[in-house]
């Protein structure tokens, strides 16, 4: 295994932050977020995983697709393609796996989305394996692992006084070549972190079709506020809305924006004549979980069996304790 000393890694991070657009976990207020950093001292090293996922690096909460300058007889459209190159350091495996799931939707499901594709192409993901498992984490129960290399270009693992590194792609090789010289490591390997399982059994063994009409969904939704924070923090929720807005200070100029949306929103699915196939809150909440575990894997033929990375952010964020692991647990128990 290749090994790099902590001081060497910090020096490299300082140079990279100076020369390039480096993003890393950073403490902002009482949140830890993937944010641009100017030097290595701004990096937060002690974190379960950042409070928001990595999806916004490729699929921003709101982005301009193109600009329109129009009067009725003349229209000019100007595309807004993202050009910025980014290196993201300290990526957790659950987030890289989330990006992989989004890749299957935005890239492999044709036609590819050019905005997402461009950001993906211009970004290098450097992972940092987890040395502890959070109370709400369950990556290993949905096919992931605290040191899952999928989706990453390069991965570091913390050992005594330094880091082991693993090159995982061509982009990772480029980074490797720019790093201070790595040596071979013969020291002690840390134990793989272990967490408590949040449920017993595999979510893919659930017969989702048979639970569609369960009263459970309506009961569960009694306390749902419809706030959609679950979708906001989710690395794989990717529903979006598209709308036009005027550009301030430029008469006749508009922008077409794409923004995150969520199937839990009340009129999300309502059609023009007023019909809403998921009029009840319970039907909408149910759709969110069916999407994750039943629909999405079928629609996008994902290599993952479920569209959930087990990051546990929605569990932590939900103001009324709707807990995805409890839902899985409930459905697995009903089956027993």
């Amino acid at each position: 295994m290749k090994y790099i000393q902590k001081a060497d890694l910090l020096a490299w991070l300082d140079i990279t932050a100076w020369e390039k657009n480096l993003i890393a976990p950073r403490k902002i207020g009482n949140q830890i977020l993937y944010q641009p950093i100017e030097n290595s001292s701004q990096i937060c090293w002690d974190y379960i995983r950042p409070d928001l996922s990595l999806k916004e690096a490729f699929f921003p909460p709101t982005e301009r697709l193109f600009m329109m300058k129009s009067n009725s007889q003349q229209v000019e459209l100007v595309e807004s393609m993202p050009e910025e190159e980014k290196i993201i350091f300290g990526v957790r495996s659950c987030d890289a796996l989330g990006v992989q799931m989004l890749d299957e939707l935005f890239l492999e499901n044709i036609p590819p989305d050019p905005y997402y594709a461009k950001r993906r192409e211009n970004t290098t993901l450097i992972g940092m394996t987890c040395s502890q498992i959070g109370a709400d984490c369950f990556c290993t129960q949905v096919g992931g692992a605290p040191d899952d290399p999928r989706g990453l270009d390069l991965m570091f693992k913390e050992v005594e006084d330094g880091y082991l590194l693993q090159v995982l792609s061509e982009k990772g090789q480029e980074i490797y070549e720019s790093l201070p010289k790595a040596s071979d490591y013969y020291g002690k390997m840390p134990d793989r972190p272990r967490g408590k399982p949040l449920f017993i059994g595999a979510p893919e063994s659930i017969d989702w079709e048979s639970h569609f009409d369960d009263e459970y969904w309506m009961e569960l939704s009694d306390r749902c506020l419809g706030c959609r924070i679950c979708a906001y923090v989710c690395p794989t929720c990717r529903c979006f809305d598209v709308r036009d807005e005027p550009i301030a200070g430029q008469p006749g100029a508009f922008e077409r924006l794409r923004s995150w949306d969520s199937c839990v929103r009340e009129n999300y699915r309502q059609i023009a004549g007023g019909h809403n196939p998921r009029a009840a809150k319970g039907e909408r909440l149910r759709n969110r979980f069916y999407c994750k575990f039943f629909y999405y894997p079928q629609q996008y033929h994902t290599s993952m069996t479920v569209a959930c990375t087990g990051c546990g952010r929605c569990i932590e964020a939900c103001p009324v304790n709707i807990d995805i692991s409890e839902i899985i647990s409930h459905l697995l128990e009903v089956a027993r």
Binding site: Q74, L77, D113, P114, Y115, C239, Y268, A272, F294
Partner: protein, 287 residues
Amino acid sequence: MIGAQSYTSIQTNPMLPYLARLVAISDQGEEIKLLQLELLNGGKEAFGEYKPGQFAFLSAFGIGEAPFGIANIPSQGSTMDFAVQRLGGVTTALHELAPGDILGVRGPMGNCFPMEDFEGNDLVVLGGGIGGAPLRPVIQYVLQNRERYGKLTILWAARRPSLLIFQDEYESWQEAPNTELHLTVDEPDEEWQYESGLITDLLAKIAPRPNNAITITCGPPIMIHFVNKMLVEKLGFAAAQNYVTLEARMHCGIGKCGRCNLGDKLVCVDGPVFSMDEVGELLEKFL
């Protein structure tokens, strides 16, 4: 510059519309207009031989975009047609356009009616209100290739006579060989001389035979449900003989925005055309 931007990038950006010029806009009754467009620049090539049942997004620039079924076949005139009912912001803006105005079009999207598989069959076409729009290309296609199909029975329904679309084409439909047109409205006025009542009442009365027959329905979800129920339970059709085209809210049309899901199906890429044996159960769940 008038629709003169470089289109080289458009081919790779499915979210960027082609420009089109509104050639004509005409009333199709109450709050419904027929928009006839000329595609500019790369649009003509991109749309090529669009098929009956396919749809496209229309952009009223600065207001937004929404999906609509294409209402003609390419060989029928030189324009691409859309029937638009005024319901929200985008449709209101589209109604306010005048000939010569520029709008945006993305598409063609979705699957289509398998018109070749239908050859040799009788066809029963059931349109409810604005739901008749995506069925017009089916009618045009059958009339243009009349010898390839058996009897064509058109059941055309609306809430009121003023909501019946393509009225100036009824005569040509009726005069076509081996073709029948039946009209019904829920709320007839004094001048109304045709049937009144729901489309299912009319369907029961006409009672098309299921042998070598295909039905094609578009209308509100509740109408699709009851039409299929009658076809299957009373008239002896199998669900697989009954085709529908579904409406859904959408924001991309290319299987990404997640909006149009109906269970595990995405209306935009798995549809909008389905046979009822594919989606019958799903529709029940989401009525």
